[in-house]
Symmetry: C2
Subunit: 458 residues, 2 copies
C-alpha cells in the first residue's frame, strides 16, 4: 500500500464528512432564490482549497455566479495542469421522487445519495483532497496546479468564456484536466479524449401575409409547412447521410486503431434499443453506433412548428413555418463554415412560392480531440490502471462541454476528461448518487496521476 | 316593369326597415352569452315567414340552436325547392374596428352595414320577401317551397346532419337552393355549381420513450421530427402532384367547356399575388389557378409540431412529432377511401426507427357538383340574366359547405348555390356590409327564379 493510500484510509471518515457538508449546500444555479447558497458553496470550496494547502485562493466575480481560483506553483520546470470542476448543481424537482432529501446526504449500499454527489461536487472534492494528500504526505506537489471551479455549469457556463479570456495569464497551463464525466460502465474506467462541437440555427419559411383558408386558396399557393418539410427532408438522405454540400469536407476519418478499440467496448445495440424504447436504431450507413455517436457529425431537427396544433381540424394554410436545427460537429469542422454551407443549401433548395429567413443561434462550438498518445492521456491511463487494477478505455462523447472547447480554443490546451461518475448515477434526476468505490478509486487515481504526469514529457 | 318589381318598389322602405330589425338581433352562435339572442332571431325568422304567407312554420329544437322550418305546398305536380339559409352570425371582434356598431345597421354609399348583412341574414331575408311578393301579387307560388333556416352555420352546422336525417320526409324536395355565397365579382353574378369535399387526419410519429439529448444519442437513433418531415415531404412531388397511390384514380377531368368558361372569367394571377403577399403562386403543373382551386384535389399540412419551440437552442431529440393533414376532394373522391390510401402510403413510407399513429378526424365530406345543364341551374342563369341584364357565370368554390354535402348525400338533392353577396363585403370581419343593389337585384332574381324553375322540367 502506498503512503498516499495509507493517508487516505486514515482520513476517510473525515473526508467523507466534509464532502457531506459540501453537499448540504443547495447551490442550485438556475434558481435565483438559491443565490446565497451558490455564494456559500463558492466560499466552501475556497476554504477547502485553502485548508488543503492551495494558494492564491480567490472567489472571483463574473457577470453571474463566481469562479473559485487557486493554485500551487512551486514546481519550476515541471508541467502545469489546469483543473476544472463546478460547484453548482441541478434543480431537484420532482422532489417527491427522492428517497432521502436531496440536500441531506445519505449513504446506502455503498453509494452516497445527494444532489451533486456525482455531478460535480463529489469530483471537485476528490481533486481538493488529492492535493491535501500529496502535500501532507510529500510536503510538495510533483507539478504545478491551477484550479478553476465555476458556479454556472448547469446553466450553460454563460460567463466562463469571457472569464477565461480575461484571465488568460492566470490560467496558463500545459493541459486542462476536467473531472465531470463518467466511466464507460461500472468497472470500466474511461478517459474521454473527444467531444463533438455544435452549430445551431433557426429558420422561418413565409408564404402569404396572413393565414389563409385552405378551401379558398388550397392548391393555388405554396403552403409554408409543405415547403418547410420538403426543405428539411432534403437535408438528409435515406442512408442517414447529410446532403448539405461540403458538410463532410473536413471530417477526419476515424483512425482504424480507435475503431478497433471501440468495437471491443462492452456496448450492446439491443440493450440500447430496449433502454430507449425505440423500434430500432438508425444512423448513417457504414458506421457502428459508437462511431456515429462519437466521430460522425449529425444534423438534427430540434423543433418544427407551424399552423394549427389544437384539437380537431382547422383548414388553415399558415403564413409561416419554423424549424430549429443543430449540427453536432467533429474535428475539424468549423461551426461558422458549416452554417454557411447549411444556409447556402437551404437557399438553393427553397421550394417556389415562399421566402426564407435564417437566423444563426449563438453557442457554436468546435469539437475537441486530444490524441491518444498525448502524455497527459497516457499518464491518466496508467493512473487508472494502477488505481483500479484494470485496463481503462479511451472513449469520446457525442455531446459538447462548452468549457472544454473554451480551454482548447481560447487557451490552446489539450483537454483530458478524467471523470469518476457512473452513467447510472442519476445526475440531473432524482436520487443522484456517487459510488463510494469511486470516491476511493478517484482519490487513488489522482494521487497517482499527478506524479505520473509530472514525469511524463509534456 | 313587372308587377313584382312594382310591388318591390312600393314596399322597399318597409322591407329595408324590417331587415334592419333582423340585423339588430346579435345572434352570435359561438358565444353562449348570446343564446337568448339566437333564440330571438329564430323567432324573428319564424314570424317573418308567417307574415309572408308561409305555412307550417315551426321553430324546431336540435342538440344546439334551433332550426326554423316553414313550407308552402299548394302546387301539386310542380317541383319542390328546399331553401336553406342561416340566421346566426359570426362574432364581431375586434369591435373597435367597426365604423358603426355591428348591431346598429347603417346605410352608407348604397351599402347596408351590420354583422350578418351579407352573411347570411340579408340573403335569408330576400327569400322570405320574394315569397311575400309572389303571394301578394299572384295569390299563390308557382311551385312548392320548403324553408330550412338554421342557427349553427357559423359554428360548423354541428347538429344539422342529424336534423336532416331525422326530418327526411319533411324535407323532401327536387332541388336545394342555398343563398349563402357571392357573385364572382361586383357586376358579375354567379351560380356556384361545385364545392370541394374534405378528409382529415392527424398523425404522430414516435421514437424513444422520452426526449433524448442530441449529444448523447444524436446520430444513433431516428429523430421523429426528421422522420416526420421525410414522410410529409414524400406526399407531394415538386410538380405539386400528390404522390399518394391512387389519389387521383376517381378524379374527373375538368370538362373542356368549363375550362373555357373559367379561362374567360375576370381572374388575374398577378392581382392575387399582390393581394396575398406571396412571392409567387404555386400549384399542380398543367392547371390554371381557378382549375387548381375548383376542380383539383389537394393535400395540405394544416399543422406540424414537435420538439423545442421556445427561444434559443435546446439540443433535444423529441420523443414525438405531429402533423395535421387535410385533403380537399373533388368529384368522385370518397373521403374514407382517400384516408385509406393516405394511411397506406404513410405506413408504407414510414422511415425506419419510429412508429406511426394515424387518427382520422370527423367531418369528412364529399365534393358537391351540379351539372351545368340541370334545369335548376339553367333557370337560375335565366333569372340572374333577367334581373341584372348581364350574362351570369357558372363557377365552383374550393371550400366545402357542409350543409350542401348533407343535402346532396343524405337527401340526394342537386344543389344550386345562388348567392347575392360580394367577395369584398367583409363577412367574418369588421364592417360587414351588403350592397343594396343586390338587395334589389336579389329580390328581382328570386321573383323571376321560382316561376322559371316551376316551368323547367325538374
Amino acid at each position: 500500500m502506498s503512503r498516499y493510500e495509507t493517508y487516505l484510509r486514515e482520513h476517510r471518515d473525515r473526508h467523507l464528512a466534509e464532502l457531506k457538508d459540501f453537499l448540504r449546500i443547495p447551490s442550485v444555479s438556475a434558481l435565483s432564490a438559491h443565490r446565497p447558497d451558490v455564494e456559500r458553496a463558492a466560499r466552501w470550496v475556497a476554504d477547502a482549497m485553502q485548508a488543503a494547502g492551495l494558494e492564491h485562493v480567490e472567489v472571483l466575480p463574473t457577470g453571474g455566479h463566481p469562479v473559485v481560483y487557486a493554485d500551487w506553483l512551486h514546481a519550476p520546470g515541471r508541467p502545469t495542469a489546469l483543473v476544472y470542476g463546478h460547484y453548482d448543481v441541478q434543480p431537484v424537482d420532482p422532489e417527491h421522487l427522492w428517497v432521502t432529501p436531496p440536500f441531506e446526504p445519505d449513504v446506502r449500499d455503498g453509494k452516497l445519495y445527494a444532489r451533486g454527489a456525482s455531478d460535480d461536487k463529489g469530483q471537485v472534492f476528490l481533486h481538493i483532497k488529492a492535493v491535501e494528500t500529496l502535500l501532507r504526505v510529500d510536503g510538495a506537489l510533483p507539478l504545478n496546479l491551477r484550479f478553476l471551479v465555476e458556479g454556472e455549469e448547469e446553466i450553460g457556463s454563460r460567463h466562463l468564456p469571457a472569464f477565461v479570456e480575461a484571465h488568460r495569464d492566470r490560467l496558463r497551463a500545459d493541459v486542462a484536466v476536467i473531472s465531470d464525466t463518467t466511466f464507460f460502465a461500472r468497472g470500466v474506467p474511461a478517459i474521454t479524449t473527444g467531444l463533438r462541437g455544435l452549430a445551431a440555427l433557426e429558420i422561418t419559411v413565409r408564404g402569404a401575409r396572413g393565414d389563409l383558408h385552405s378551401g379558398l386558396y388550397g392548391g393555388a399557393v405554396q403552403n409554408p409547412l409543405h415547403a418547410l418539410v420538403e426543405l428539411l427532408a432534403g437535408l438528409r438522405g435515406p442512408d442517414g447521410r447529410i446532403r448539405v454540400e461540403g458538410f463532410y469536407d473536413r471530417v477526419r476519418p476515424v483512425p482504424e486503431e480507435e475503431r478497433r478499440q471501440w468495437a471491443a467496448l462492452p456496448h450492446d445495440d439491443a440493450r440500447l434499443v430496449a433502454e430507449l424504447g425505440v423500434p430500432a436504431l438508425f444512423g448513417e450507413a457504414g458506421y457502428t453506433t459508437l462511431e456515429r455517436l462519437w466521430a460522425r457529425p449529425t444534423l438534427e431537427l430540434n423543433g418544427v412548428w407551424g399552423g394549427f396544433t389544437g384539437e380537431g381540424t382547422k383548414t388553415v394554410l399558415p403564413a409561416e413555418a419554423h424549424a430549429k436545427i443543430t449540427c453536432r460537429l467533429v474535428p475539424d469542422q468549423e461551426p461558422e463554415e458549416i452554417l454557411d454551407r447549411l444556409e447556402a443549401h437551404l437557399r438553393t433548395h427553397l421550394p417556389p412560392g415562399v421566402t426564407l429567413e435564417v437566423r444563426r443561434e449563438p453557442g457554436g462550438a468546435r469539437a475537441v480531440l486530444t490524441p491518444h498518445d498525448h502524455p497527459a492521456v497516457q499518464a491518466a491511463r496508467q493512473a487508472l490502471r494502477e488505481a483500479y487494477g484494470v485496463e481503462p478505455v479511451l472513449v469520446r462523447m457525442g455531446g459538447s462541454i462548452p468549457v472544454a472547447e473554451t480551454f482548447a480554443t481560447v487557451l490552446g490546451l489539450p483537454v483530458v476528461l478524467l471523470g469518476f461518475g457512473l452513467p447510472e448515477e442519476n445526475f440531473h434526476a432524482p436520487n443522484e448518487h456517487f459510488h463510494l468505490e469511486n470516491f476511493d478509486g478517484g482519490l487513488r487515481t489522482l494521487c497517482a496521476y499527478w506524479p505520473l504526469l509530472a514525469r511524463g514529457a509534456l
